[in-house]
Amino acid sequence: MSTLKATNLQNASSATTNIVLNTDGTITTGANMTVTGTAVMSSPYTMRNKIINGAMVIDQRNAGASVTQSTSLTYVTDRFAIVGDVASKYTAQQSSTAPSGFINSLLFTSLSSYTVGASESFTLRHYVEGLNIPDLSWGTASASTVTLSFWVRSSLTGTFGGSVSNSAQDRFYVFSYSISAANTWEQKTITIAGDTTGTWLTTNGIGIRLFWSLGTGATQSGTSGSWGSTLYRSATGATSVVGTNGATFYITGVQLERGTIATPFEYRNYQQELAMCQRYYAKSYDVTTVPGTQVFAGEFLMQTFTNNNLYFPVRYPVTMRTDPTLTFYPGYGAGASPTAGNFWNYGTSANVASNVGRTGTTGYSIEKNTGSASATIGWQYTASAEL
């Protein structure tokens, strides 16, 4: 048994080095590589990004409109939600400002110069479903390292922070990153050793919680780079976006993958990304129509008959994560300011209460009886199965 020690490998006819054997065990080749047999990799080459809509392209709820942060978790672009302990400190919206290779980002704009209280936090959140993380083996001795990467741009510079947590929020990993130049896109990479303890769900519940801080007080700020059980949303001393009136912060290209390397962003095709989003949020409206808008497109119409129950089945675009919360909007005839929770009776030109007969992860059925007068009933819906 012998060991061949070399740094560079070069074909006898080549003018330059073909393969470099790096000290960390990686191999660098300056040209294409052909594998005649089977290439076996420890991390997947496709579907490796555990983040859905990381490029911020899908915005089913708001279609690019600005959302003002509140104390309730509010979704902006699909799968990305905002919240804060005090309302109205920033807005968020899909933006067309993006780094090369992307067309969208998520933009945050501070509405004031707010001094964050010690126990307060303002965050962007993304929850990864547990069914999508069993390969990480978190909570066991075999826990895999993951790499989080994303592009950011801000009018502010300095150190920024965030954290990773489990469903029960009794395991936390604080991360930090720096933005060195104002109003310039920078890609950030954070490698996180997998958590060998704690409970990490591999069900249709929350597998991993990701937080990016836009301002966090001292109580919820900790030292970055290790796992612990204290609830932290950010790194100690991190820059507060909400602390500067008019400050901007953009993020896109978010990727969470198994392994120690941030591979190029996995840009899935649009239809595939939309379908993945629809597991958590679906609607009858066209993708770019904000729910509640007065439109014909997507409206369901059913004809009732005198004194008879009518049952009308609706299938979701994809099977949803769980039986979703349904919100109904009366049809086109209700005008520009429809009252949610109703259908529109085109016979009487009035709202009638929505009435669900059956629901499930694949669809729902309407059960309606309009009494002695037959009628045409119209409605649109949204279905939310968010984590």
Partner: protein
């Protein structure tokens, strides 16, 4: 904090199938599924005595 108000069970064929409830002021239908985030939130509020769900009509 999501606000739930005016909650009432919805029945079909004599069985409760969900809850009509205003979520942050918007009337919605929440199914009786523990994995549904709104249902889980509401059950926690009920257990804490902070929400009452009326019987179906």
């Amino acid at each position: 904090m999501i606000m739930y108000s005016n909650a009432q069970y919805v029945a079909s064929s004599g069985l409760n199938v969900g809850i009509n409830v205003e979520i942050n002021g918007i009337m919605s239908f929440v199914p009786l599924d523990p994995a549904n985030t709104d249902y889980a939130n509401m059950m926690a509020l009920v257990a804490a005595g902070e929400l009452t769900i009326a019987e179906s009509e």
